[in-house]
């Protein structure tokens, strides 16, 4: 019985080693934050209140307004079922219709903020290329290089609100040289 309870369909354990997991996770995240040197939006920073106002991202749901690993813990322990952590339905995820109907660039940026920060720091990566494709830009490499140049403007510090990040990226993409045709 105990085995069954350990998370089929999401596979999240419902066991005593949760506490250990959280600490492993946090250490991992902090180190990962170091790896991407200066990246402002690691999971560690998400445990502060910065992500509460993230609007559309996973983080806003995952960390909610409670903040901290308590929330991660709750999410993890409740994770028997696929979407308990996210409450994603046809129309929710704090985004209304946006996240569902239009897989738009702005929604994409908010949901992928951390992965984007990492990609932009090194000027390339799957998330960055996907954004470039979504925004209808002509050349992924040029987009990567340009965003990389603007890294510190886009992610000035850890407390930068999600909206500001999206705005900064969208502004950068609107550079005519990048020929992004789909940035609304």
């Amino acid at each position: 019985m105990g085995k069954w309870l350990r998370g089929w369909c999401s596979g999240v354990g419902y066991t005593m080693n949760m506490a250990m997991e959280v600490s492993v996770k946090s250490v991992f995240h902090v180190v990962a934050a170091g790896m991407i040197a200066l990246a402002s939006s690691s999971s560690a920073s998400a445990t502060e209140t910065t992500y509460g106002a993230a609007g559309c991202g996973l983080g806003s749901v995952l960390f909610g307004d409670e903040g901290g690993f308590v929330q991660v813990f709750a999410a993890t322990t409740n994770g028997f079922f696929g979407n308990q952590t996210l409450g994603i339905t046809f129309g929710t995820l704090n985004c209304g219709e946006g996240a569902l109907d239009t897989v738009g660039a702005r929604v994409f940026i908010e949901a992928n903020r951390e992965a984007l920060a990492k990609d932009i720091a090194r000027g390339s990566g799957e998330t960055l290329s996907s954004l470039s494709a979504l925004a209808g830009c002509a050349d992924d490499a040029a987009v990567g290089a340009t965003l990389q140049q603007h890294y510190t403007a886009i992610f000035p510090d850890q407390s930068v609100p999600a909206d500001a990040v999206s705005d900064a990226i969208m502004t950068t993409l609107s550079d005519p040289a990048l020929q992004c045709t789909d940035i609304g």
Partner: protein, 398 residues
């Protein structure tokens, strides 16, 4: 009179009632003939029909559909337990020019829940909700708009022609098909390895490869859609959670969501590796799968944690469009997500490719393993103080 007619047309346009009466009414004779034809052919017992309605044999020799929402059945009596009645009702409903748009189980205007406690919703948005909450369906679109996979099946086996059916417009269905624009289907399996490397529990869902994700010849998988089956959980109480989960007290539903959300959730936040199994489906089968998922969006399934769980229903959806493979028979009484992968892999040629997406944690470990001591030390000092000046020996790229 003119006003009446006009009102009807306007209503028709809004709700999917046939706006055009130009299509020839084949009359009751044709419909009766089709019903008889279906009966003679024994369609109600065919694997394809049973699959589309998710009917499974009961221990007592009857049938029971796993679908638990009333909008999934058209038979007035008991479509859930009677595949034959449901088949006949479906044929008649498809030809119907008048049908009940507001059955009494639909929520009254202004209420989000029906008397049974289920929010009635569709998988798309023919009526767009203003807020983030899902708007309840107060008017059901025509059965032709709700059951496209059943329609395709009946057209195929009974020779029903498009032009003899009522000409209905289905904006929600069209929007859904457009959003999916399916060019490929993957079964996605995510593991959970963090504390117990020997464990391979997991979660399965579908990735719908969209035409729009192919940009300048390169596929951008993150831009695809995920189709997920999960329970709408309404409690944070662990005990209630376990009890309700084991006894089917949570309604499970199919959801669609941009694939990148799933990647971020599993790969980044939960440190779970992801495997994507590409399925060798013909275009016809992919379209049927998308249509069938749309059908499933009209209902819920009571979620049983041990057997009727995500993996089971995802496989059930595939089974509905590949009835000849009897995929569900390959499952044991308790369904582990990994089992569904085994079932699919056991079918010759069904899985054409496997793509592995390591979690952020896996990637981090792989990178950290390749570091020199000096590099590792530099990383650690960066963690404690982002302003640390790196040793001059490091190249800019590092």
């Amino acid at each position: 009179m003119y006003l009446l007619v006009q009102t009807f047309v306007v209503l028709a346009a809004a709700t999917g009632v046939p706006a055009s009466t130009a299509a020839a009414d084949p009359g009751a004779g044709r419909v009766d003939a089709l019903v008889l034809q279906a009966r003679v052919a024994g369609l109600a017992r065919s694997a394809a029909w049973l699959g589309l309605g998710h009917w499974r044999p009961t221990l007592w020799g009857g049938w029971k559909s796993e679908a638990d929402g009333p909008a999934f059945f058209l038979a007035e009596e008991d479509g859930k337990h009677d595949p034959a009645a449901e088949l006949e009702a479906t044929i008649r409903a498809f030809f119907s020019r008048e049908w009940v748009q507001t059955p009494d189980w639909l929520p009254a205007a202004g209420r989000a829940e029906d008397p049974g406690g289920e929010a009635v919703e569709g998988p798309g948005s023919e009526r767009r909700p203003v807020s983030a909450a899902i708007a309840p369906w107060r008017v059901l679109p025509h059965p032709l708009c709700r059951f496209p996979a059943r329609l395709a099946f009946l057209e195929d086996v009974l020779g029903i022609r498009q032009e003899e059916l009522p000409q209905v417009v289905c904006p929600g269905l069209e929007e859904f098909r457009q959003a999916m624009s399916v060019t490929g289907v993957d079964l996605v399996f995510s593991s959970y390895y963090l504390n117990n490397p020997a464990s391979a529990f997991g979660h399965t869902f579908l990735r719908i490869e969209r035409a729009g994700s192919l940009v300048r010849g390169v596929r951008r998988d993150l831009l695809d859609f995920a189709i997920d089956f999960s329970a709408d959980v309404d409690t944070r109480n662990s005990l209630a959670y376990v009890v309700k989960g084991l006894t089917g007290r949570f309604p499970g539903r199919f959801h669609r969501i941009p694939y990148y959300y799933k990647v971020r959730e599993y790969s980044d936040y939960e440190s779970r590796d992801i495997w994507e199994y590409q399925l060798a489906l013909e275009k016809r089968q992919m379209d049927a799968l998308v249509d069938h998922i749309w059908e499933l969006g009209w209902t819920h399934f009571d979620y049983f944690y041990l057997d009727e769980n995500c993996a089971y229903h995802i496989l059930g959806a595939i089974d509905a469009v590949l009835p000849d493979l009897s995929l569900l028979e390959g499952l044991k009484s308790f369904v582990l997500p990994a089992d569904t992968v085994k079932v699919l892999e056991a079918v010759d040629g069904l899985v054409t490719g496997v793509h592995y997406r390591p979690s952020l944690r896996t990637q981090f470990r792989a990178r950290a393993a390749g570091m020199t001591r000096q590099e590792a030390r530099a990383v650690l000092s960066l963690v404690s103080d982002p302003g640390t000046v790196l040793p001059a020996a490091f190249e800019a790229e590092q």
